[in-house]
Structure formats: C-alpha cells, structure tokens
C-alpha cells in the first residue's frame, strides 16, 4: 500500500502548476472566450514542446509511456488554473485509445491503421484529437437518431472541440469509432462557459472505422477520472480565492470570514475536497492497473472483476469530485456575495468551468446510478 506519488511525478506536477500560473492567468482564460478554438494555441504548443502531449503515449510510439498516475495531478493543476485546453479529450482519452487501437493493428482493420497515423500526429501536437464517449449507466448509449425522417443511421452526440479537432473518437452502442473531421458534421452549441466548444456532431458509424480492441468503458473511465481531477483543482482554487476574499472583505466592522456562517460554508467545501482527492488518485491508479490487465490478460484478477473494480473506483471518484466542485461553486459564490455574481469578477470563470465539468463525463448522480448498478442493486 503506497499512496505517495514518485518524486518525478511531484516535480512534473509542480512544473506544470508553474506553467499554468505564468501562462494561464485569469486574463488568458477570459481571452479564450473570444478565440475561435476556445483555447490558447500558443500554450498548447508550449505543452507539446515540453512533451506533455506525449505523457500517455507508449514509448514505442514515441511517447513517454506514462499512465493515469502521471496525469492525474496535471489535470488537477489545470483545474486550479481553469485552463481551457483540450487536455482531457486529447491527452487523457484520445491518445491512449489511439495507442490501444494501434496495438490491435494486427487485426488489419482500417481504424487501426488510421489510428497509427493519428497517434504520431497527436503526440507532436500537429493534429488535435477529441472524444465523445458514453458508458452504460451514466448517459444511455443507445445512440440517438437525428430525427425519424432522416437517414436512421445518422447519430448525434455533443462533443467538445468537435469542430476544431482533426479526428474524433466517438462511441456507438458500446463500441468506439474513429471519425475523420470530414466524416462528421458539426453544429456549434454555445455553452454557458465561453471557453467550451461544444458541437452537435452528426455522423454515421462505419464498421470499417471501428476501433477494435479498445474498450469503450475503459476509455470512458479515463475521461471521467480526468474530469474528476480537474473538478478537484477547480474546487481548490475557488476555495483558496474565497478564503482570501473573506479575510479582506469587512462588514459590521470586521472581516466577513470571522462569522461562523461563512466559516462553516468554507469548512464544508474544504472537507468535500479533502475527501474527494484521495478517491480520485485511487481511481487513477485503478484505471492504470485495469489498462495493464487488459493488455496483458489477467493473472490474479479475472478481467470482469478488474473492470468492475475500476468502474466502481471511477464512479465513486467522479461523484465525489463533481459534488465537491458543485459545492465549492455554490458556497464560494455565496461567500463572495454580489461581486461574485458579476461578469467582471474572475470567479465566474471558475464557476462556469465547474458547472460544465461536474456534469460532463457523467454527473454525480449519474455516476452514483452506475455505481449502484455495479454494486448489484
């Protein structure tokens, strides 16, 4: 039993925190609202040069061979900065799925060959990968036909960065597909969070582009774990900023942070974060182990058990982390009062990221629904 991160992982996380502090201050987040792609291509380029995009890619594909344990603190640091970057879609979900598809290339499917091409482009940052993956028990993955009169094979899905990406990993009925930008149509759906680039994607699943050998459920869990880590970071920043604010802001002749009602709000936020964080780290560990088992076949644990355990860890973590982010958003807005309700104040940048991240890749109650099912209820 060992919980601590390696020194290398710690240094990496601290380095990235510094990069975000310098390169992604609130003004930069705000600037992304008006950018066509929704994120800073300049900062993305820096991360690519630093090798950040290569973390989750296998060494034999030119990556760093890391896993979710190497990634989880990076996602948390990105959340603290409310960094609007496609880290989740591209690094946490896209690249591992492409790598697994490439591993299955021996099967000769078209999807496998294409994924080899996209993997190297994704690692270098030349291409952007996005992902829209559903899993049973969270959002129902029955596929949604566009409308009754249209071609019934056309599916719709809402995917972040779909219009900006070069290639998308999409799910349909428990299988993953690799869709080139030219193979799907996007209709941008403006989000409450101006840094999100959500589009309605219309596409037709094509058996030739199916990613054989890649588990949709594991891929979904990668996204949910990364989103959970991001939620913890968002909540931590909102708490820190609000603590500073209520120490300064005076009413009735003393800091509002000296009043018990305010203290108890913030103590509850601090508690929610402290209890979500280790569960998110445990989920990252479980996902990394599950991936290893999946690659190597199983030794001690049956694959079914490994999948169930992993999904339990992930759904527990995402429900706790989403709740922590939602609680932090609600309480921190309340403790700021009217100033926090303005567009000018930076708090709204984090609030909106929290509202959107807490419900993406499964909301808290959707993950509890999935967890209850996994527990056999």
């Amino acid at each position: 039993m060992k919980f601590a991160f390696t020194e290398e992982q710690q240094v990496f996380a601290e380095t990235l925190s510094d990069v975000f502090a310098k390169r992604c201050p609130p003004e930069a987040v705000r600037a992304c609202w008006d950018s066509p792609v929704g994120y800073s291509e300049d900062l993305w380029g820096t991360l690519a040069e630093m090798g950040v995009l290569a973390i989750t890619a296998p060494e034999d594909a030119g990556g760093l061979g890391g896993d979710e344990r190497d990634l989880v603190q990076l996602m948390e640091a990105a959340g603290r900065a409310a960094a609007p970057l496609p880290l989740l879609e591209h690094v946490a979900v896209g690249i591992p799925a492409l790598a697994e598809a490439k591993g299955a290339a021996a099967e000769g499917a078209e999807g496998a060959a294409a994924s080899q091409h996209w993997l190297s482009q994704a690692i270098s940052g030349e291409a952007l990968v996005t992902a829209g993956v559903r899993d049973k028990g969270t959002v129902r993955d029955k596929g949604t036909a566009r409308d009754k009169n249209a071609d019934s094979s056309t599916q719709i899905q809402y995917v972040n960065y779909a219009a900006q990406a070069d290639v998308a990993i999409l799910s349909y009925q428990g299988e993953l597909y690799l869709a080139d930008r030219k193979d799907y149509t996007t209709y941008e759906q403006p989000s409450v969070d101006g840094t999100r680039r959500i589009a309605r994607v219309e596409w037709s699943p094509d058996a030739a582009t199916r990613l054989a050998g890649v588990s949709a459920s594991l891929t979904f869990d990668r996204g949910a774990t990364a989103a959970a880590a991001y939620c913890v970071g968002l909540a931590q920043h909102m708490l820190d900023a609000t603590v500073e604010y209520v120490k300064e802001r005076e009413q009735f002749g003393k800091p509002v942070g000296s009043y018990q009602a305010v203290k108890h709000h913030l103590a509850d936020v601090a508690k929610a974060i402290s209890f979500a964080r280790p569960s998110v780290y445990a989920a990252a560990w479980a996902v990394s182990q599950s991936a290893v088992l999946q690659r190597a076949g199983s030794e001690n644990i049956t694959p079914e058990n490994a999948v169930s355990d992993r999904a339990q860890y992930v759904s527990a973590a995402k429900s706790l982390a989403s709740d922590a982010a939602d609680l932090a958003a609600a309480k921190c807005l309340q403790c700021h009062g009217a100033i926090g309700y303005t567009f000018e104040h930076d708090l709204q940048l984090w609030l909106k990221r929290a509202w959107t991240t807490s419900v993406s890749w499964g909301s808290a109650s959707q993950h509890r629904h999935r967890l209850a099912t996994l527990l056999g209820i």
Partner: protein, 404 residues
C-alpha cells in the same frame, strides 16, 4: 502509487480474518450499556487480549503486536466486516492510551496499559460538565493540593460507559487564578475513590450508557496525575487528536456498515419479494423498497465510506513518514460522524414501516440493528467536540480564517 497490499500486509489480514471467523460470537452480545452486557463485552476483550488481538498497534510488552498503521487499518476492516462485538474498552484503548504513551511516566505506563489492554480495567472519560460542553475550558471541577493528594469537588457528566467503568480519566481545575486553559490538570481516578459518587444516566435508547460523577472532597493521589500539574489542556488536546482522527473511528467500521446497506438495498429490490401483481404494493410497503432515491443514497454512502478509507491510508502513510496529522483530524470527525448518520437513516428510510422496530420485534431486519445503530450514530456529530466546533477548527486552523 500502488494501492495493492504487500504480501506481509495480506498475511496479517488473513491471520486476523481467520481468527475472527473462528472466534466471533455467533449470537450477538447484550448491549454493553447493561450490567450483563458490559461483563459479556469485558469477557470478549479478555479473549481478544489472550490471542494478542485487543491492541495490535501497541508494543508487544503491553499486549500488542507492534503492527503498522496500515495493518491496523486492515485489522479494523476485518474486525467490523466480521460482525464482531463493539469495543467496550474503546475509550481507554483509543482515547486515553495514546495520551499515556505520550505523557505518562514509566511507572504509570507499567501500571495502566496492560490491564487496559486485557479488559480488566475499563475506562470512561470525565471531561464534560453541566456548564462546560463545547466550551470545555470553562470546566469548574476543583482539585486542591493537600500534600501528595488532590482534593476534588464538582460534577462531571455524559461519561460514556461510566455506569460500569473501573476508572475515569478526568480534566480538573487545579489553579483557578491562572488563565483558564492553563489552570487545568489531567487526573486518573478509580471508581472506588472515597467521595466519588457515580450515578448512571440513561441515554436516548433508555440504557445507562452515560454516568454523572459527583466529587465531594474526593482524594486522588498525585501518582495519578498524567503530565504536569497545570498542563492538563495540552495533555487533553493530545487525546482529542486521537478522538477526532484516526484512532477512534477507523474506516473499516463505516465500510462494513455501507456494505450492509448495499445488501439491504439488494434484498429490498429483489422482485422475488413481490408475489403477484395484486399484492405488489402491499408487499413492497411491508417489506420496504429500494427506490431510486434510496439507490442514490446507498451509492453515496458507499462512495463516502471508501473515500474515508483512502483518506486514512493516505494519512497513515504521512504519519508513518513522520508528519503530524494536526487540525485536519477535525475533517475526519465531521466526515465519519455524518456518514454514520446517513448510512443508518438511508436504511431506515428503505425499511419503511419496519424501520421503527426494536430488537424485540420479531420482524425487525437484522434484529433491530439499524435502529440501534441509528440511535448510536446520532451521538457522533455531538461527542468529541460538536461538528460545529470542528467546522470552526477547520476554518480557523486549516483555512486560516480570523477567530473573531
């Protein structure tokens, strides 16, 4: 990061698991807050001690196994998963003992630890007073020096297990002139002290789980002073660290409770309970149901029980690495006490009209254990410093908000 247990840890776990399987009483013991039940629980403590399982984290010379914190957490997981009896010695073993290890003289350690580990001497805490609850430092029980003796006058209250306990660990005022936190001392007091009257007080469940202590010129020898005279507050705060943090309520207890809640949820969503369409509604109500809200609550309780588990393993690792736990222990106390209430409230909600049944009711689920556990859980947010006090501590000492 590797959350698998080492072979040594697994061996340890297997050992306690098989001992419990062979030795846990098949019939539940009577309530430890009844005279018979108290003695039954004392006998169980003696059995644990004889096998070396009453205090595994203590040094061997006091009956322990010197096990690591991770092993202790595993021990607690196995203990509660096995449905073994509650620990009547918990106040001594979990609250007083850490303080004895830190502050007691060698003579005191020799005198007190072994009988505590073996269940021969069961301890109760005498801190609260009628006018000193959350504001503990307002306590007024006086202890006046008379040579080698302290002469006590005053009243203690809400002493858990006090009705049948053998010893009390008390906080008393030795210097009324000093600043209120500085005039206190920590005394260990036997129940047969002349001038001490112990009056049992029924708790909410009707059993004498509490006692009041009345001191009328009661004499306590200075050899029973724990730590320095006038240092009682500092000594006591070391105890509250244990009380609020890892020692008193390990996650295993709540993991086991959440697992039982999952089982209840499964059993009440079993379609076999419903015999036919006509009597479906009637049968469901009588037997209880796992509706969508209950399902959500069960999953929340289960996730939180595991969250507490990971928090504790992570904390244990830092403690083993020489770091102190400090005020974050207050997080843990809020968390487990509110989780405990939620687990049992969720069960009672599902049980519907069977929820109110006591152990005497033939149709009670698990022998009325849910209502018993609920009543016990309700004390959690109050004792060991109310959760409001804990939230103040978190806000002021962890977040750094101004005291006033």
């Amino acid at each position: 990061m590797d959350l698998t247990f080492t072979p040594a840890e697994q061996t340890f776990r297997d050992e306690i698991r098989s001992w419990l399987r062979a030795n846990t009483p098949t019939e539940p013991l009577k309530s430890m807050d009844t005279p018979d039940g108290f003695e039954q629980h004392r006998e169980w403590e003696k059995k644990l001690f004889a096998a070396g399982w009453s205090v595994p984290a203590w040094p061997e010379k006091y009956g322990g196994r010197d096990c690591s914190l991770v092993e202790w957490l595993l021990y607690e997981e196995e203990y509660w998963a096995s449905d073994a009896p509650g620990r009547v010695s918990a106040n001594g073993v979990s609250l007083l003992a850490p303080t004895i290890f830190e502050f007691a003289t060698d003579e005191q350690q020799e005198r007190f630890l072994l009988p505590m580990a073996s269940g021969e001497e069961i301890w109760s805490q005498g801190w609260s007073e009628p006018n000193a609850g959350s504001d503990l430092a307002a306590l007024s029980t006086r202890a006046v020096r008379d040579g080698e003796w302290f002469v006590l006058n005053g009243q203690k209250t809400w002493c858990s297990r006090g009705a049948f306990a053998d010893w009390f660990f008390c906080l008393v005022r030795t210097d009324p002139e000093a600043e209120r936190h500085r005039g206190l001392s920590y005394l260990l007091i036997p129940k047969d002290t002349e001038g001490l009257t112990v009056r049992p007080v029924a708790r909410i469940d009707g059993e004498p789980g509490f006692a009041e202590l009345f001191f009328e010129d009661a004499r306590v020898h200075e050899s029973n002073l724990l730590g320095e005279e006038g240092q009682g507050w500092a000594v006591a705060m070391a105890t509250t660290g244990s009380e609020r943090g890892l020692n008193l309520r390990a996650p295993g207890r709540f993991m086991a409770a959440a697992d039982k809640l999952v089982e209840l949820g499964k059993s009440l969503s079993d379609p076999a309970l419903v015999n036919s369409a006509e009597d479906a509604t009637e049968t469901e109500v009588a037997a209880g149901t796992t509706d969508a809200v209950a399902r959500d609550e069960i999953a929340r309780c289960w996730a939180e029980s595991r969250a507490y588990r990971w928090v504790c393993y992570e904390a244990a690792e830092r403690l083993a690495g020489g770091e102190a736990l400090g005020s974050e222990a207050s997080f843990m106390k809020i968390f487990w006490s509110e989780l405990d209430v939620a687990i049992n409230a969720t069960a009672l909600n599902m049980l519907g009209e069977r929820a109110e049944f006591t152990a005497a009711a033939e149709d009670a689920d698990r022998g009325g254990a849910w209502m018993d556990a609920y009543l016990f859980a309700l004390s959690g947010p109050i004792y060991a410093g109310t959760n409001e006090i804990q939230r103040n501590i978190v806000a002021e000492r962890v977040l750094g908000l101004p005291r006033r």
